[in-house]
Structures are given as C-alpha cells and as structure tokens.
Amino acid sequence: MDPQLKKGFLELLVLATLKFKSSYGYKIIQDISQVFEISESTLYPILKRLEAQGLVTTYTEEHQTRLRKYYEITDEGRIKLVESQTDFEEIKKIYQYILRKED
C-alpha cells in the first residue's frame, strides 16, 4: 500500500484499538496485526504523532515489578474516529469512480 495512505490508516487503527480500553505498545501491535501489517518500529512514531496531536495521552502503571506505558484515547481522538466515517464514504465514492467500467 502507498506509504502515505498506510500512515493515515495506521493512525486510525491505533485510535480504534484504544476505543474501548487503554493499551500498551506490544498489545497494540498484536491487535492491529489481526487486520493490518504493522512493525514495532513503525508504531513508535505513530504513537508520538498521535500524542503530539493530542489524540492520545499516556500514563505509566506498574506491571509485574516493572513500569508499563499505557496509551489512552482522548476526546479529540474519538472525534477523529467519528470523522473517519465521513472519509470512508468519500473513499468509497472515489474507488467507485476509479474502478468504474466503460458503459
């Protein structure tokens, strides 16, 4: 897939995995891998991006005598997810046009 397109989708996929529950790096990768290919090294910049845009926040919690960083979706992040639905409708229309057949 086109790298720019992939980046945009990965941001949304991360937000979607956090939709119901906060999560951590390893778990986020596992969840997303079920629907889309993602590597450990690509996730880090995406998380940083989302944080910089205020779409996720982070907190640290103790897990088995070590600290684990959790990512939580913000209200802005939820809005972004809802907005992506309109994008979906537009993308659908675009692809209907791209793949149209000659009359």
Partner: protein
C-alpha cells in the same frame, strides 16, 4: 542479539536525540521486548524481527519532522496574530497617506475655484473697461484653465475616496478581530 545488547546498541545510535527522547525510545523498546518475552516469544527471534537498528533510528528521525510541525503550529497561531497586526499598521499608514493626498486634492480644487472666480471678475472688469480683445481672451483662458484645475481636483478626491471606504471598513474589521483575539 539479546535484549541488553540491543538496547545498548540502540542507545548509542540515538546520540543525536535529546536525553528525554532517547530515554523514551529505549523504554519503549525495553518494554516491548519484555512484553514479548512474557508472552512466550523467543527473545532473540523477536529482536531480529524488530529490524536493523539503523532502520529503527531512520524511521524515528523521518517522523520527528512531523512532531516538530505540530509543535510549530502553536507558534504559527502567534505569527498569524503578529501578521494581522502588521496588516492593521499597513492599513493605518494607508489611511494617513489618503488623508494627505486628499488634502492635496482639496488645495488644487481651492486654487482652481479661486482662479475661476478671479478670472470671471477680471473678465467682467475688462469688459466694463472696454479694453482690447487680447485682455479679454487672457481672462477667458485664465478662467477656463482654473475650471480645469478645479475639476481635476474634485475628480482626484472622488477617485481616491472611493476605495477608502472599503479600506476603512476592512481596517475596522481587522481591529475588532485583533482585539477579540487578544482578549481571549
């Protein structure tokens, strides 16, 4: 490669990063590897899957520009307010210039009207005195010249003030916008 060797090598490769970011990245990978091990994955195989350290650092660097851009966006808003201030100042200078030029136009008009009146009086005086034709012609010419001057002055003022009204409205809008923004 084992976890500690990987983290050590990664840390060395992150030399150009700030201390806090370096720690954050190291912590991210340390946590990731530990979670994988806890989940029953093979340590060495998992680290191999992470890819080369070079590539990891490149991926982060490539995205850093974006994070910086988002931070700069806040500066951008400040810059916008500043730009608006400059625009308002520019418009104020424009208005001052207009006032000066209109003043110039008014003086031309006044000189013109004055000349018309003087010319007419003198023309009547010369007619009264039954002077020679050239003197009459001189005052007719004098009067007409000043009619032209006065008309030029009036047209000059009208053409200038036509744009000034919209400019004034724009200035008022910009000023209120600027004050509203400053008040926030």
């Amino acid at each position: 490669m084992r976890k500690y060797e990987f983290l050590y090598r990664l840390d060395s490769a992150l030399e150009s990063f700030s201390k806090s970011e370096r720690e954050e990245i190291i912590h991210y990978y340390e946590e990731l590897i530990q979670d994988a091990i806890d989940n029953g994955e093979n340590e060495i195989a998992f680290i191999e899957k992470l890819g080369s350290i070079d590539k990891i650092v490149r991926t982060i660097k490539k995205d850093d520009d974006f994070v910086d851009n988002v931070k700069e966006k806040k500066n951008f808003e400040l810059k916008q307010t500043f730009d608006k201030g400059v625009k308002v100042l520019g418009q104020l200078l424009y208005i001052v210039a207009i006032i000066f030029i209109v003043g110039f136009g008014i003086s031309i008009t006044v000189v013109g009207v004055n000349g018309v009146v003087a010319g007419l009086i003198n023309l009547i005086a010369t007619l009264d005195a039954r002077l020679t034709v050239p003197a009459n012609l001189y005052y007719i010419g004098y009067t007409l010249l000043h009619v032209g001057l006065a008309l030029f002055g009036i047209a000059f003022i009208i053409s200038l003030t036509q744009g000034a009204k919209t400019k004034l409205e724009l200035l008022y809008e910009k000023l209120t916008e600027l004050f509203n923004k400053g008040g926030k």
